[in-house]
């Protein structure tokens, strides 16, 4: 009886997936994900600044330049979005109201960091990319202090 009812309902109505959380396994958070993505943003920004257009009109060289430029921009934009996503996961899922009592500038820090992600996505600006890294370091420090640890901020590049 129940199975018939369920079967008819499942066939009639398309099932949708709903979540009780926004991300992966509960309790597994690490600002390293944001740091790696932000480092990629900084690296791509540096590469874009260093990239010079061909000095001649060779179509092959221009095609190669355009291809490299586009790839660098695509990676920079993708990683800037990834950085923002990872920061927001920490903000919305890990940090709790109690953390604000210890770190009253948490919201301000997150807000500025995510704004910098957007700025780095749309611009080729070394200063903003470096500033983003300083905010990532602040978030790293707040995160580990909130866990009673003092893990060093180590960069991959």
């Amino acid at each position: 009886m129940l199975s018939k009812f369920l079967k008819s309902n499942l066939i009639k109505h398309k099932a949708i997936k709903v979540y009780a959380h926004c991300d992966g396994p509960c309790g597994v958070y690490d600002p390293a994900s944001a740091r790696v993505a932000a480092e990629a943003v900084l690296s791509m920004t540096k590469k874009l600044i260093d990239l010079s257009p061909p000095e001649n009109t060779s179509s092959e060289e221009w095609a190669s330049y355009s291809n490299t430029f586009s790839r660098y921009v695509a990676v920079k934009e993708d990683q800037a979005k990834e950085t923002k996503k990872e920061i927001l996961i920490l903000w919305t899922d890990y940090f709790k109201p109690v953390h604000l009592e210890t770190f009253p500038d948490l919201h301000e820090t997150i807000w500025k960091a995510t704004k910098l992600c957007s700025a780095c996505k749309v611009n080729i600006d070394l200063k903003q990319a470096e500033e983003l890294m300083t905010y990532i370091e602040r978030i790293h420090n707040i995160f580990w202090q909130s866990k009673g640890r003092s893990d060093a901020f180590v960069k991959a590049s």
Partner: protein, 98 residues
């Protein structure tokens, strides 16, 4: 939403209709995430004229109104009426395949 709902459970819901449905405190609702393109499932805590405050039963791990604030009623898709636990669904699954 543990212990009320566990990952993999199946829920049935009735559609939330803006002018016909009534939300009540304690109901479990399905709604669109205010930022991401996903649907969330949470319990109703407070109801205002145009918005709802929601919370997860597993408070320690929940992403809810504590973080994203009130949910606009227009974001609500449905009110959960019944749920089947993953374990019971597995027991019933042979019937679905027959």
């Amino acid at each position: 939403m543990e212990p009320s709902l566990i990952d993999g459970d199946i829920v049935f819901f009735r559609k939330y209709l803006k002018n016909k449905s009534t939300l009540k405190t304690g109901q479990i609702i399905i709604f669109k995430h205010p930022i991401d393109e996903i649907h969330l499932i949470k319990r109703v805590k407070t109801i205002k004229e145009f918005s709802v405050e929601v919370f997860g039963d597993n408070k320690k791990c929940s992403t809810d109104s504590d973080f994203f604030g009130f949910i606009q009623k227009s974001k609500v898709l449905g009110i959960v009426t019944t749920s089947i636990s993953k374990k019971n669904f597995k027991t019933l699954s042979p019937f679905f395949n027959s």
